[in-house]
Assembly symmetry: C2
DNA sequence: TAGATGCATCCGCTTTGACGAATGCCGGAC
DNA sequence: GTCCGGCATTCGTCAAAGCGGATGCATCTA
C-alpha cells in the first residue's frame, strides 16, 4: 500500500551512512523527538518559515499568523529553545531570526518528502488533520 | 554555538533556496507539520531508527520498543502513511522497511541540529519532556 | 513625573493523541 | 475441517499542549 507514489523509492543508498550514528543514543531519541515536535505544530512551522524569509519582531509575527500575542510569544520562545531561531533584544522590541542555514535545509528536505507522499499523508487519520 | 557552518545563514544568501518553495503553500504548512509530528513521538522515532537499520516484522518491532502489539501496529501504519516506511506482506507476517534514502538524511540532519542545541533543548519546558 | 507600547508569563478551558486491553480478520499448521 | 499465531482495528482513559485573555515588567515618549 505505502508504495503508492511511484516517484519515490530509491533503494540505492542502504543504511550504511546512518547506522553508526543510530547505535549509540538511547537518550538522544527523546531529545530528537522533542526537536521534531517543535515543528509538528502548524503555527510554529508557519512562524519558522516566516522567519526564514528574514528577521521579524514579535508583533510582526503576531500580525502574520493572526493569533494572540501571548501565544505567539510562547511559540517563538519554544523555537528559540530548540535552536531553530535566535532572539535579539533591541529596546522594547525583540527580533527573531534563523541563524543556522541547516534549518532551511531541514525544512526543504521535509517539504520534499512530504510532497512525494502528499496523498497518503493527507489520508492519514492517525495524526490530527489539523488545519 | 552551532557554529557548524561558519557563514551565518542569511544576509548574503537571502532565502533564494527556500522562498520559492515557501511562498506558494498555505495548505502545505499543515501537511508538513503533520509530517514532522509523526517523528515528534519518541516511540515512532525509535521505530523509524530501528527500521533504518534494516527490515523488520511487527513482532520484532514490538520486542524492540517493549509496548503493546496494537500500539506498535498503529505507529508503524502511521509511519507508512507519512511515507517514512513501506509495508510488505509475506504470508501472515508484515515487514516494514525504509525505502527512501532521504529519510535517513532527514534524521541525520535533525540529530545534528538537536545535538548542537541539546542544552537549551533539554531545558525547554514548553514541550513535553517525554522520555 | 505619568502614560503608552511591546513582550513574557500565568490561568482556565478544550482538544489531541498515546496507551493497554479486547476484539476481529486472515493465513499457515495440524 | 479445526486450531493457532501474527497483525490490524476499536474503545475508554488520561496526560500533553494549544488557545484566548489577564497580568506584570521593561522601555520609549510626552
Amino acid at each position: 500500500m505505502a508504495g503508492s507514489s511511484g516517484t519515490t523509492a530509491r533503494p540505492d543508498t542502504p543504511t550504511a551512512a546512518v547506522s553508526p550514528l543510530l547505535g549509540e543514543g538511547g537518550e538522544q531519541v527523546g531529545m530528537v523527538a522533542k526537536f521534531f515536535r517543535a515543528l509538528g505544530d502548524p503555527t510554529r512551522l508557519r512562524l519558522l518559515e516566516f522567519l526564514l524569509a528574514g528577521e521579524h519582531t514579535v508583533s510582526e509575527c503576531v500580525t502574520h499568523v493572526g493569533l494572540s500575542q501571548g501565544r505567539v510569544s510562547v511559540h517563538l520562545a519554544c523555537l528559540a529553545d530548540c535552536g531553530y531561531v535566535a532572539a535579539r533584544r533591541d529596546g522594547r522590541y525583540t527580533h527573531y531570526r534563523v541563524v543556522d542555514p541547516r534549518v532551511a535545509d531541514l525544512v526543504v528536505l521535509a517539504r520534499s518528502l512530504a510532497a512525494d507522499n502528499c496523498v497518503a499523508l493527507a489520508a492519514c487519520e492517525r495524526i490530527t488533520p489539523r488545519t
